[in-house]
Symmetry: D2
Subunit: 478 residues, 4 copies
């Protein structure tokens, strides 16, 4: 009844620590022993003894300190690639006589030896979970240890196989769900923070709110990704009323619109394996079948890169930002959103510029804005630009309060997606196109030139954030 496993132990260390403080004295494993342990994972010939050694390695890993774990990763990187002699011989053999057999031998020889190690670790109860946790820690080290990249690459490829869509299970999360899962929802919500259990309840225990997540048979109660949905009677322009603790729920049968107002990836260890597109489409399909009156499936999404881009753009000599707006940006006081005059000017200026930013500002022929890239890549269309959509400090700081709606028209998603992937073409509502067209690129007046012009978003935080989203990591989306 009470399942236990090496890895539940491993992961629960954190948990129990939170409850009762540190409780177990880590046993130290010497570097030499560690190296031997890793090697033993490959040398055993028997299937079940291999299981035993895999469990032993995971226990040892659990008790390592940070340096010990780095040692493990570096050993896997340095000593467990393909065997050079064997690979060279196989390459030569293929070149000498290309055939099915020599090709197959070459394929075998080219596989890094650590791949088999990961496969064996994956067999232990809790092994998948442990590997996901290990990749988390590996990724954190990539900056300082670029030599670890091939290890990350191998893990990512294995994860792509193990976490392929066929294994994902959609579950509705509500007040009937176990506390073990709900606790993780609170922890993983990355867009609009859930402050406590009462706030959670307002999002899952009301007739016009839903929450769905993808789960995987080997990760148990750990969600991979989840989306929060509001059922409404029109396309919302602001997040405040959606999250309000003081609103009147509606009868879901009267709802015409399902709003995906928050999507959170949960597993940093699965960075680069994308689940969001499948999730949104499956939830939309299921809701459409449950509630026949639903006509619109839209997001209410942030524009995380807008403020940063706008500042840079304003500083360029030839710029989409005119002098009036440049002046406005300099004048804006802390609380400008409540200053009627400033708000009015801001609305006139920011709407068109947001449209321009999302449709025209691109890196590698893809929108620079990570959230735009995600939804447009899924086949959604850019539907509506909302001034004052998110007036929280974070919303003001990152996007001057702008939010947008992306719309999933189920019958057009496939077509939009292909056009975006193949031609970089963006599906967009005519009104938004008009807004974007109203922006003119012009030379700025000399007086306002800044001293230093930053390069276009190089190695900035915002850039990193982009990357994380398209690769499907835990990130703020929607």
């Amino acid at each position: 009844m009470r399942q236990t496993s090496v890895i539940n132990d491993l992961l629960s260390t954190i948990t129990d620590t939170r409850i009762f403080g540190e409780r177990r004295k880590p046993r130290r494993t010497s570097r030499a022993d560690l190296a031997q342990l890793i090697e033993s994972l490959l040398t055993g010939r028997g299937e079940s003894s291999s299981l035993e050694r895999a469990a032993e390695f995971l226990r040892a890993y659990r008790d390592l300190d940070s340096a010990g774990r780095t040692f493990v990763f570096r050993t896997l990187a340095a000593d467990y690639g393909p065997e050079p002699e064997r690979l060279a011989a196989a390459a030569q053999a293929y070149l000498d006589k290309p055939s099915g057999t020599t090709a197959k031998d070459l394929q075998r020889a080219a596989e890094p030896r650590r791949v088999e190690i990961f496969r064996r670790l994956n067999q232990v109860t809790g092994g998948t979970q442990a590997l996901v946790a290990m990749r988390c820690e590996l990724v954190e080290r990539l900056g300082n240890h670029p030599d670890l990249a091939p290890v990350d690459d191998d893990l990512k490829r294995l994860f792509a196989a193990w976490f392929n869509r066929g294994f994902l299970m959609l579950r509705e999360i509500n007040w009937q769900t176990s506390a073990a899962i709900l606790e993780k929802i609170i922890r993983y919500e990355a867009v609009h923070a859930i402050t406590d259990w009462n706030e959670l309840r307002r999002r899952i225990d009301v007739p016009d709110r839903r929450l769905f997540g993808f789960f995987h048979p080997r990760l148990g109660d750990e969600p991979l990704i989840f989306v929060e949905v509001a059922l409404t009677t029109d396309i919302p322009r602001a997040i405040g009323p959606i999250l309000s603790g003081n609103r009147e729920p509606i009868d879901p049968q009267t709802a015409t619109t399902a709003v995906f107002y928050s999507i959170s990836n949960c597993q940093d260890g699965l960075r680069g394996i994308s689940f969001g597109s499948f999730l949104i489409k499956q939830v939309a399909t299921d809701l459409a079948s449950e509630l026949p009156n639903l006509k619109n499936f839209v997001t209410l999404s942030p524009v995380p890169g807008f403020a940063k881009w706008l500042k840079e753009e304003a500083a360029r000599p030839t710029s989409a930002v005119d002098d009036t707006t440049r002046g406005l940006l300099e004048e804006l006081a802390d609380n400008w959103i409540n200053n009627t005059a400033q708000a009015k000017s801001a609305e006139a200026a920011f709407g068109p510029l947001t449209a321009h930013y999302l449709l025209e500002v691109k890196d590698n022929n893809r929108p620079r804005d990570p959230v735009a890239r995600f939804h447009l890549g899924n086949g959604a269309r850019l539907e509506q630009i909302n001034f004052g959509g998110d007036v929280s400090p974070r919303g003001i700081a990152s996007a001057h309060g702008m939010m947008v709606n992306y719309r999933y028209v189920l019958s057009e998603v496939e077509k939009n997606h292909e056009a975006f992937v193949n031609e970089g073409k963006i599906a967009v509502a005519p009104a938004v196109t008009r807004l974007a067209r109203s922006v003119k690129i012009a030379e700025r007046t000399p007086s306002s030139a800044p001293a230093q012009l930053p390069p276009p978003s190089a190695t900035s935080n915002e850039k990193k954030e982009h990357k994380s989203v398209t690769e499907g990591t835990r990130a703020t989306t929607a």
Copy 2:
């Protein structure tokens, strides 16, 4: 509530046919269209359009006749290996400058292109099931089409990853289990046939009988392998009383012995992926924890190769079969087991020879008998030789009625397994060793020399059967 999928459709064709006759006119796909469809599986860049094409391919495959399916397999074999130019270039690049990067490029180039096809098919709902079904049909064609072997090899490697032990779920099967699963148990039982629902009930709806199977999240109600267990008060010497419909069940709390009397692999498409060892050990562990009085975990197993070997051995000039036994073999009438005198002679002769056969007759330093190879390879020990253990026509024909018990001593399984795998050493009870030692190899008297001496079991059926068992295919084990 009522799930449907391309592949449930595909598989249910058989089912529905059984119930209502043929119901769907297969739509024909031309060879050219088929080839294009396969190619399209790789060319699409969008993730979700790729899903759509995969489903389309599976529907087309479902409606193909046998020749059409052969065409698909041959296309995959001929046109979807690694790209020769790319592979040659990558091999040369690595030889020119061995590095992490060139090794990785070489690895990518060496992967057959069909592997990505299989991965994409696996993403569709029901895709795993379809691929398992496809491999079934592929395996049937290997004899006539040896060029298909690499395709089989690629599928087997993918299955080894997807069906690794971490994904297997152990379920107890009893009278509370759904008819959908029970029906498959009846169909898949390969050792001691279950003739109808009443016979099934005698094996799962009584306190001293158990049935456990491994399931996989993507195969739904399809068992991968199952084992039938009898709880007894001593180590049984014959299968008849175990299967009897006219016996007194015992209170499981009084049982000292768990007898694994039948193990059946269910999925021909998973041939070569072994589950049996894990299953037996997990079931033994679980039963030991539920019923603390259980002390012995044994099989009651057939000796499928004994009669065949004995016949061959008797024909050799230098032989373990002495003249008396040779005479007995020639004399044995159809119903000899009920002939007291003959039975007595047979018991004296066959016991030692069975021990000899299992312990001494080997291929590649492994016991020739497939069931022995399976259990001894799992770490069991050869415990007891039973004359008259299976007096059914099949038991008499294949093993002169002999059965044996293999014993799983949980604390020794690991050690036995390693000794067997590494040194070919067989764990065996002293009494069986003594039996085997009583057999003398001697020259036969000239008079009884046969005209033709067959080579030692070459390309015989029995040899094939061996292979199938060690590779874990659907087979008669226990």
Copy 3:
């Protein structure tokens, strides 16, 4: 995991016997000990010791032979009514001084003492099941032992409370359901027998067939009542095509009609507690919500009393049967349904007479036909008369092959039900009314007068069958 209980033991005696023969020697309890055991059920003051004694009594009862069980029932009847002195005193006290207190005392004194016994037996695990089984055996004895009627009456009143609608759970039964339940469905089907598991599968494992049952938390896998549903594209006129093993299933989304073609009560021990009306209405509501194209909810029902009534009616001097029909009835050969001329005459004659029989022939202002009484009482309307609806030997013998459809129009059910209950008014389709009106009551010609005229169906089997259905016992309905 493996639940056991006194009563599972009790009930499984039968089961196990079927599998392995008798296995337990009944321990005999003397009459004196039995009487004492019964008395002890009331005398214990402690709650938990009372549980222990209740279990002891049930074990003793299990091992009694038929005479012993009769003794138990007679003891409960004779010695465990209200206490006469106490009741007389309480009655007098109330008459002397009517008040809340004396009324309450009188209520307590009037309760038969066995009611408390039944309540205590009901507390044991498996107790409800045991009491239901006991009432079965009690009911069988009522004919010879009319003195047991008050015991039956008390049990029935308790069951009405324990099995009230609030406790009933609707479950869909399909091929995913456990064999334990499916086995009971096969056993309990009382209208169109399910011959084996394949026949069962044709009724539950096809997209256009459904089966739903009511269950009760204390009876576990025992269904109380179930209904079988066919999804069709029009209102069916005959049962043969519905049950055919050789038909083409339809897509349920295209179905316009849900046909309730069989309703079976399962528990003889719950005779007189009605579940059928709730079941039909809940199933109709659920199906309507799952399949929006469903417009018609109809039965395909037998007319069990028609042939018997017709024979009696034909023998009356003033009769609804005219001379032509009387002649036809005498002429009908065994296989008349296949005789084109006779079948044609029969169709012309039997349609109107069936309509007349169902609408005009009444006992106590209710239709004499039990199935009509059941469905019309539920608020259905008599929709259609079907000649040749059931040409099985049973259908020919009981109703000359006639079947009818009752139709449940959800919005009118309540109104029809009230009109029927309060005024005896029958809801009926105009076409059926016209059919009935075409029947003329006339004096028969003297020549065909029978020697003896039976009284109108008094104490006949058919009358008994009526009663059983309206009281909701296990019976052939639909």
Copy 4:
């Protein structure tokens, strides 16, 4: 999927109000309409129309204000008892001619008419829950409206039938349990308050803590009663270490002792229906089977009446309290427990007096202390007296910090229970008997006589609390 019902609506009013404020305008029903609505519950003849009217009544009740609800209860009390004329006639008929028939008629006539009303309300989805909620409100009115007592009495008798032990389902509550249930556990904990979700987690998500509750099929997620268990290695003397947030959990397999440290009744509407005894015994039995090392099953219980009794006793002329203790009581400062000298004196004095209080101070031959009465009545024995067991302000105020252990020896529980129920005999450990014997009853010295001597606990709060516990209401037990 999303169940709704009249009564979920009814009950969720509270819930939703907490989340979103008042949302529904109550519709007013006039007194005349209410009276008519109640009457209509009995007059309808049709079964399903009766359901409809019951639902209508419950909706109307939901929207009533407090006065309206009082009106409903008074109407049920005044107008829906037995019919006087009918009852008088039946009483007379029985007296004239006592027989089975007249007795049965009398029984029917004696049943208050409201009983049938409650039965019909119980049939509606959510009806049981509504009736339990109604009884809550009825009980609150009993003080001011003694005329409502018969209504309460009828409901209680019906509840005793509907909530009999056979329907109760034991569930383990842990971190896998739904938030809907956990939330109620937080709300209903009545002994040692659970302040928030983290505190809850410390009690259910650790290996050495368990929580079990009884549920009822008709109350859904509403627990009836639950018990919290600590697994320990010895019999604990104080509650502080059990509840500590800073302790080291133990491996449950090493535990020898299961401590029931809190038992809470949850449903005020089920006051008087006792579940606690069954719960403790079933949990003890289950734990014993799961953890074979468990030897002791004990409570750690408060002595809620001790301080109050001691104060009264000290004031009596002839008293168990000697002058030293009397002096101590007057001297005790607020924080005496931390005053070494006072604590030492207190320990010497209070231990014997607690033993005396529990063993010798009785009302109606039962211990006056409600918790003692509950556990001793269940068959537990008084095992150990603990000074300083609960040093919280509440523990000091009500019992000078004393706690006790009651011990459930499963093999003796039945015997103890019978002796207690039949003879008032208390099972007690010898050491406690010795403690009690060390107390001498003696005349106090005149100087300390109080002005007024209170009567022995008459109509005091403490007395009320006693009553509530033995009757099994929501109460502080353990």
